[in-house]
């Protein structure tokens, strides 16, 4: 079943047409890898979906319903959780406070933004979450994020997306800067999320990872989607050549024929 559908998304930054026209569909329980060289427009595309900035043109459908995503809060409320490439944690806050940033457990809810944080619940939930992701042995929920390594921070950001059990989880280069073990952790997480029925949009430059976890591949070049293939129907070399643009015409024909 279709979870997310994009139709003709366009976005320019001044004279740079970062997104010329992008359309694709993401189904329930599917992992789609979004590939493309530096500057292809991948981050721009997912920032549009997650409400970081509005698109110039085009429509977004969530479960068949046309939606307007004007803020990150809108996207979160629609069940779209994103882990951005540029780190998404506040270094001066504790792990626990970061995990619940924007969705803090509070007492006396009617006080609005002045409501007191439920510190006990915050701590307990954070510890439980860290345990679930398998990094609790090393990390204390009260530790400041500024004291963590890049890989540990990435794990925290991922646990947070998991926590809110979103329909769609978007990961922008989640294995960047990660060691071997943490990288396996992320890939395992992607599989778990799919098993739980969520959909994942994974951006990465590592094609090996794509073949380990993805069901489908979408390739972008200069702001456009130039190819779309199921992993079972393709191989590493083919995908690499699409990304770099070698022998484009033949491949485009192949894609179109489908």
């Amino acid at each position: 079943m279709e979870v997310l559908r994009l139709q003709n998304l366009q976005k320019s930054f001044g004279s740079v047409r970062a997104l010329k026209s992008a359309s694709f569909t993401l189904n329930e329980g599917e992992v789609v890898a979004l590939l493309g060289d530096n500057g292809a427009g991948k981050s721009t595309l997912i920032k549009a979906i997650s409400g970081v900035f509005p698109v110039d043109r085009g429509d977004i459908y969530v479960r068949g319903q046309k939606v307007s995503i004007r803020s990150t809060r809108d996207a979160m409320d629609l069940g779209i959780e994103t882990i951005h490439q540029d780190t998404s944690l506040a270094p001066d806050l504790s792990i626990a406070r970061n995990l619940f940033l924007g969705r803090e457990p509070v007492n006396l809810k009617w006080l609005g933004v002045f409501a007191p944080l439920d510190l006990a619940k915050l701590r307990d939930a954070a510890s439980a979450l860290l345990k679930r992701v398998g990094i609790s042995k090393k990390l204390d929920a009260d530790a400041l994020v500024s004291t963590l390594s890049g890989g540990e921070r990435q794990s925290i950001a991922i646990s947070r997306a998991m926590q809110f059990a979103a329909k769609v989880i978007i990961l922008d280069e989640p294995t960047n800067n990660l060691g071997v073990e943490e990288t396996h952790g992320v890939l395992r997480f992607v599989k778990e999320v799919r098993a739980a029925g969520h959909s994942v949009l994974l951006i990465t430059h590592n094609i090996h990872h794509v073949f380990q976890v993805a069901d489908r591949i979408i390739v972008m070049r200069r702001g456009e989607i130039v190819a779309e293939q199921t992993v079972a129907d393709t191989d590493l070399l083919t995908v690499e050549s699409i990304i770099t643009g070698a022998d484009m015409s033949a491949l485009l024909k192949e894609t179109r024929a489908k």
Binding site: V52, S88, A90, R97
Partner: protein
């Protein structure tokens, strides 16, 4: 074990080291001049403390969110001038005049906040310009002359600048204002949801925005709060001395920022402490007061104040480095 850990992190925290230095300073002044701890001198310090301290509370929240406000000293001067002009015109009641003065502060803060967040100019430049506009306005409408302030006793005068005696000590109601606002600020910054947002915005704005935190709205409200507190402090001061001078509060912006950073709040945002600010306010107050008592010539004050501030900042930086290493 965790108890030991918590205690050592408390000892290493910036507010704690500021507190130790404050104690040392108080001891030095007390030994150097016995009058330092006399009821008269303590009452004196407590009369001045709230006026800058109240502004420093707002400034702490603003700095924690990663912005700052240089127009507070000018607002401190303008707000009571407006109130007095309105009262003297004879058309409005003093309560209405006070309200109008505070609304003007709301407007000044909102303009600061809107320009900083929506147009994206740094708060340094925006509030520096605002300082000139506001100070200029105060000078122009008074033609540079101080206004005689409202000195008939009444509800509002008592509310803002009433005084009472406890034993041989004489305290002003402004001290209660400072205490109540401090408690409120401690609650908001460290225990409320809003405080989490303020720290997150100052620490990594994009991360906060990506989690749905309304960063611009929070900043605009903090600019408004800081401006209103500066205006309130100006009114308290004007009532206390029964005069509203258009040059009142000159240079206060830097003194307030010094109080805040000396207390351990990071100038770059993300890390703020209200307790530290209270300690910082006490420290600057007692330095200014103490060096007069021990006979430092008036023109040499700022040398001492500057050196002590620098020493504090170096200490914080060293502690910070140490904490990062361990």
């Amino acid at each position: 074990m965790p108890d030991v850990k918590r205690r050592s992190s408390l000892i290493r925290s910036p507010q704690f080291s500021s507190l130790v230095i404050l104690m040392v300073l108080l001891a030095v002044f007390a030994i150097a001049d016995a009058n330092f701890l006399s009821p008269l001198n303590i009452s004196n310090m407590m009369a001045f403390l709230p006026e800058l301290g109240i502004i420093a509370l707002g400034m702490t929240l603003l700095l924690t969110a990663g912005e700052f406000d240089l127009s507070v000293g000018a607002v401190f001067g303008l707000a009571p001038v407006i109130v007095m002009l309105l009262v003297q015109s004879g058309q409005v009641d003093i309560g209405v005049a006070l309200l109008a003065g505070l609304l003007l502060c709301v407007a000044i803060g909102a303009i600061n906040g809107l320009i900083v967040t929506k147009i994206g100019i740094s708060s340094f430049l925006v509030t520096l310009s605002m300082l000139l506009v506001v100070r200029g306005a105060a000078l122009y409408i008074t033609q540079g002359f101080p206004l005689k302030s409202w000195d008939q006793p009444g509800f509002f005068v008592t509310l803002l600048a009433g005084s009472f005696n406890i034993g041989t000590f004489r305290f002003y109601t402004s001290l209660w204002w400072f205490i109540a606002l401090s408690l409120l600020a401690i609650y908001v910054l460290h225990y409320a949801k809003l405080g989490n947002w303020i720290s997150a915005i100052g620490s990594n704005r994009n991360a906060a925005v990506a989690r749905g935190v309304p960063a611009d709205a929070v900043k605009i409200w903090l600019f408004i709060l800081t401006s209103v507190l500066a205006g309130l402090a100006g009114m308290i001061s004007a009532f206390r001395i029964s005069a509203a001078s258009p040059v009142a509060g000159t240079g206060y912006e830097l003194e307030v920022i010094a109080m805040v950073v000396v207390g351990g709040t990071a100038l770059t945002g993300g890390r703020g402490t209200i307790l530290g600010t209270i300690v910082g306010a006490l420290m600057l107050r007692s330095i200014r007061n103490g060096i007069v008592l021990i006979g430092v010539p008036g023109l040499a004050y700022n040398i001492f104040v500057g050196v002590i501030i620098l020493a504090m900042l170096i200490l914080h930086a060293l502690l910070q480095k140490n904490a990062a290493r361990s």
